[in-house]
Symmetry: C2
Subunit: 281 residues, 2 copies
């Protein structure tokens, strides 16, 4: 079993530390206030083929949170220090954390954590997921007009995302699709929702405050190039029930088919292999 690895950014360099070694002080606002952002980067074949998209989104999250960013090279350095001799046959999830440090203009805290993709995630990727829809309690249009709600930022404040996953497990499901107060589709706690209907691929509008999915962006670009039209569509749960296929997309899990939705079995019309081919590009 390959074990976890950790690297911290210190004095302008990446330092690899034992994963059982504490790396953050009690004064760090990432710990005390969830005041930071993160990315989860897939490590496969001993490299990080999608790192560029994550670097861009981390910069965007930091900007939305007015967080100092130490530069892409620093992020590349902490990730690179962990990936360097990672076994090529083990898929890994590399989490990059950027926090506000001690605040008041002190340097941010940057660190990375690399661990094998959990067996349960691999099972979901292979077999699909049972999903429940849960309200996020927010109006679909409020985050676009209220920047302090941090729509579009992948923050460390994921307590509600984690509680939603516990609620899904309680209901015998694996994962969640959040909806707005009006019943509009938003996103999963750690994924983007994509569905196939009417000969198109659809995903909800980013104006709802959801994250811009790096895997969804790659899929849509590849699909368009392959003659499969795509659309940004404000859908509802009924649209998911009526769709030919529904997937949760994330960097680590790739395109995972939704095989049960609020208790109803559903198929993928045989489309999942094509979606995966497009992502494998």
């Amino acid at each position: 079993m390959t074990s976890a690895r950790v690297a911290v950014w210190t004095d302008g360099g990446a330092r690899v530390v034992d994963p059982t070694e504490p790396v953050v002080t009690a004064l760090d606002l990432g710990l005390g206030r969830g005041d930071g952002c993160f990315e989860s980067v897939l490590v496969t074949g001993g490299s990080t083929p999608q790192l560029a998209g994550h670097l861009t989104r981390l910069r965007r999250s930091a900007a939305l949170m007015e967080l100092a960013h130490p530069g892409d090279d620093a992020v590349r350095a902490v990730v690179g220090a962990l990936v360097a001799d990672w076994p090529g046959e083990v898929d890994g999830a590399c989490r990059v954390f950027l926090t506000r440090g001690l605040g008041d203009g002190t340097p941010p805290t940057l660190l990375a954590l690399l661990a094998p993709v959990p067996a349960e995630t691999l099972r979901q990727r292979a077999q699909g997921v049972a999903v429940v829809t849960l309200t996020l309690g927010l109006a679909a249009d409020v985050r676009a007009a209220s920047p302090w709600l941090l729509g579009g930022a992948k923050t460390l404040s994921y307590a509600v995302n984690m509680a939603a996953l516990r609620e899904a497990h309680r209901r015998g499901a694996d994962d969640v699709v959040f909806t707005s107060l009006e019943g509009q589709l938003l996103e999963g706690p750690t994924s983007t929702v994509v569905w196939a209907a009417g000969g198109r691929l659809h995903t909800p509008p980013p104006e709802t405050g959801i994250l811009a999915g790096t895997t969804q962006a790659r899929l849509f670009a590849a699909a368009e190039a392959d003659g499969w039209p795509t659309a940004v569509t404000p859908g509802t749960v009924a649209d998911l029930h009526a769709a030919d296929a529904v997937w949760l997309l994330s960097g680590i899990r790739g395109a995972t088919a939704v095989v049960r939705l609020d208790g109803a079995q559903r198929g993928d019309a045989g489309l999942t292999p094509r979606v995966r081919e497009l992502l494998a590009g």
Copy 2:
């Protein structure tokens, strides 16, 4: 200048550590997911007179988050280790953090951080605060019916609370009162809203998902005993403008008068000293 102190709960005991020493690993879910809860306890006269109320609320937050709690004695031990020789003349803020640790049933992480109350907080307590109202984007009734939204839990996922304070500063104000989508009063990012009107003290209903304020509870009990009736009232911003006085209540700041609300100056009808006397009990 008295400097910060940190204690961690390890092997059944409180260990005081240098505040610059890292205490949390990269694998801790409190850091990576904001998956934990906290309390801010006032240290005054060398002791923590309101600790009991915070212990109760920390247990409640942990229960709402299905988080293992190491017991009140453990919390008392980490707090006590820091307060023991704290100078009686310095008011301190003692933050207690309880996180899910490494997850999967591993022990929780418990630690405490004690630092002098910041000068800016003391200024606000003395001079009052300018407040802006900002939407939290949520319907007032949704959290009561949606436990995964963690209404009533004081979680470590405070990124939005911190962003709201930055928005207040951008607008030339000190603090925030969040409102629901419908314009109902909720709470401050780190405080409870109380207003005086019609011979009563009012505060918004906990069913909106706001935190049960420990200072508000003490004030209302003391006011009732003193013949000042209290009410739980679903108010609006207009009610605050029309009120005789408005306060933000928190354990650290006590009752802080709102002296400007969305740009309009407002008074306290001379009521703040009585409120403070009741809290000093």
